[in-house]
Amino acid sequence: MKQVVFSVKTNKAIAPNVYKMILEGDTSGITNCGQFVNIAIDGYYLRRPISVCDYDDETLTLIYKVVGKGTEAMSKMGEGTKLDTLTGLGNGYNTDASGTYVMLIGGGVGVPPLYNLAKTLRADDKEVVVILGFNTKSEIFYEEEFKALGCKVKVTTVDGSYGIKGFVTNAMDGEEYDYFYTCGPEPMLKAVYNASKTSGEFSFEERMGCGFGACMGCSCKTLYGNKRICKDGPVLKKEEITWEK
């Protein structure tokens, strides 16, 4: 974990209520894809945990959805806004486990952390199939960006307005893969868990207090004991997950 003051470079809507923010600053605290950052917002007591979509040595890309007042305040931040941020939080995905044929499954704002993961896997010459699930056509983002990395991309919409009609699991049928990585709302994760034929990794979301393992606010049960989503997660292996609350 590293505390860094970032400066907002760009911040604009890429879909209804979904924004892409590019920050400038020291990204050396980020050590793995699938990690997150925790941002202090003026006037709000708790930080806002946001997954890392992409990063290089000097810039950090976040894609976030406006879900409340804190993220609404974020959406109004202009160029040059300074953001006190804790970076490099959480374990992230284990790319060594991927095998050669890899499937990535993202739902809604669960899609962003898969982008840097796809980039990493493609740099390693893995064959990557990406399934992106949205409710409707207007909500779709990053289809082209994944294609540009050389991934095979399948889009699903619940209302059938674009791509395959239905849920991400409809697009999983017929695909061959050695391993998978997924991020999205919990009902989707559960459906992927049940539909998947191989081992894989799941990125979870939970309300957090601190984001670095101190408060026990975001704990979950696993088959191997209690884990903190923020510190021992957010990524859990399929074999350790229990859906029991």
Partner: protein, 305 residues
């Protein structure tokens, strides 16, 4: 800057400064030891420990409020046996001072069992008896809101505890002085206050409480004035030392709490939003002392009484 003295004596043990991270906001210290040398602290109060391991309450168990937060963690901890066999040896590698053992329970025998075990540990300097957790049923706060029942817990625990015994009180009572006196009369060496204030938030979209537990404990700057008032009232009424806590976030807050009567000051929620909060407060203390003409922190304890 002239020489200032930040040392205070907490029940026979000298602290380099009065800053103590509060139980439940500092785990067993390691997350913070990765960020800075935690030996700069006066001491810290470790995660509330119970006889048996606990997962705590279902999630979500955190919600935001104006100038603070609600938590309904519900005393998640690995249980006293594991705390002694795993957490304390790990802590020894990063912390060479005496630590404060925070103990919770669901019955008098529970409290006695856990206190007796932790009292024997060489690393433990003080026992902080938590009778004020608002997030568990059939224990915790129910002991801390009834002076008769509380007196009984303190009396029984006192029989097995050889180290300084501090009782951590809830502000969710009608008369905090009466509760504090019940502790003093039954053998407590010190009083710590305040634990969180019982609160609740509702999700307007779902028309349901934000917390799965419905209610949770409010902490953060929102509760600081309530804490100062409670410390002031209790410090007036008892002869034993008082540890002040509740929304402390700055060196100024520390001084204010001490003027209200606190011998030492615990810092809670501030650690969660700024992992360097305690380090920054400790580094800033000399400047603030100088600003208010304080040469020794010992001199201001209860200065406003």
């Amino acid at each position: 800057m002239g020489e200032v003295n930040t040392k205070v004596n907490l029940l026979g043990i000298e602290l380099d400064n009065p800053i103590i991270p509060a139980s439940g906001t500092y785990g067993f210290g390691y997350e913070f030891a990765e960020l800075y040398d935690i030996n700069i602290l006066g001491t810290f109060s470790f995660k509330g420990t119970t006889k048996d391991p606990r997962f705590g309450n279902p999630t979500p168990r955190i919600a935001e409020t104006a100038s603070g937060m609600l938590n309904a963690v519900g005393l998640q901890n690995p249980g006293v046996e594991k705390v002694i066999s795993e957490e304390l040896p790990k802590l020894k590698k990063v912390f060479n001072k005496k630590v404060m053992a925070n103990v919770s329970g669901f019955s008098i025998p529970d409290y006695v069992y856990t206190c007796e075990k932790l009292d024997k540990e060489e690393q433990v300097g003080w026992i902080e008896l938590n009778v004020s957790c608002p997030n568990v049923h059939g224990g915790g706060m129910s002991f801390g809101t009834d002076p008769v029942l509380l007196g009984e817990v303190v009396r029984e625990v006192r029989k097995v505890v050889t180290k300084p015994l501090i009782v951590k009180l809830s502000p969710n009572v009608t008369n905090i002085v009466e509760i504090a006196k019940a502790c003093e009369d039954n053998g407590a060496d010190g009083i710590a206050l305040i634990n969180t204030l019982l609160g609740m938030r509702i999700d307007l979209r779902k028309r349901k409480p934000l917390l799965k537990n419905t209610t949770g404990g409010l902490s953060g700057p929102a509760i600081f004035p309530v804490a100062v008032r409670c410390v002031y009232q209790v410090a007036h009424a008892v002869k034993i030392p008082v540890i002040g806590m509740g929304g402390v976030s700055t060196a100024e807050d520390v001084i204010e709490m001490m003027m209200a009567g606190a011998t030492a000051v615990e810092v809670g929620a501030a650690n969660l939003v700024n992992p360097y909060a305690c380090k920054e407060i400790i580094e800033d203390l000399p400047r603030v002392m100088e600003k208010y003409g304080i040469t020794s922190l010992k001199d201001i304890i209860g200065g406003a009484l």
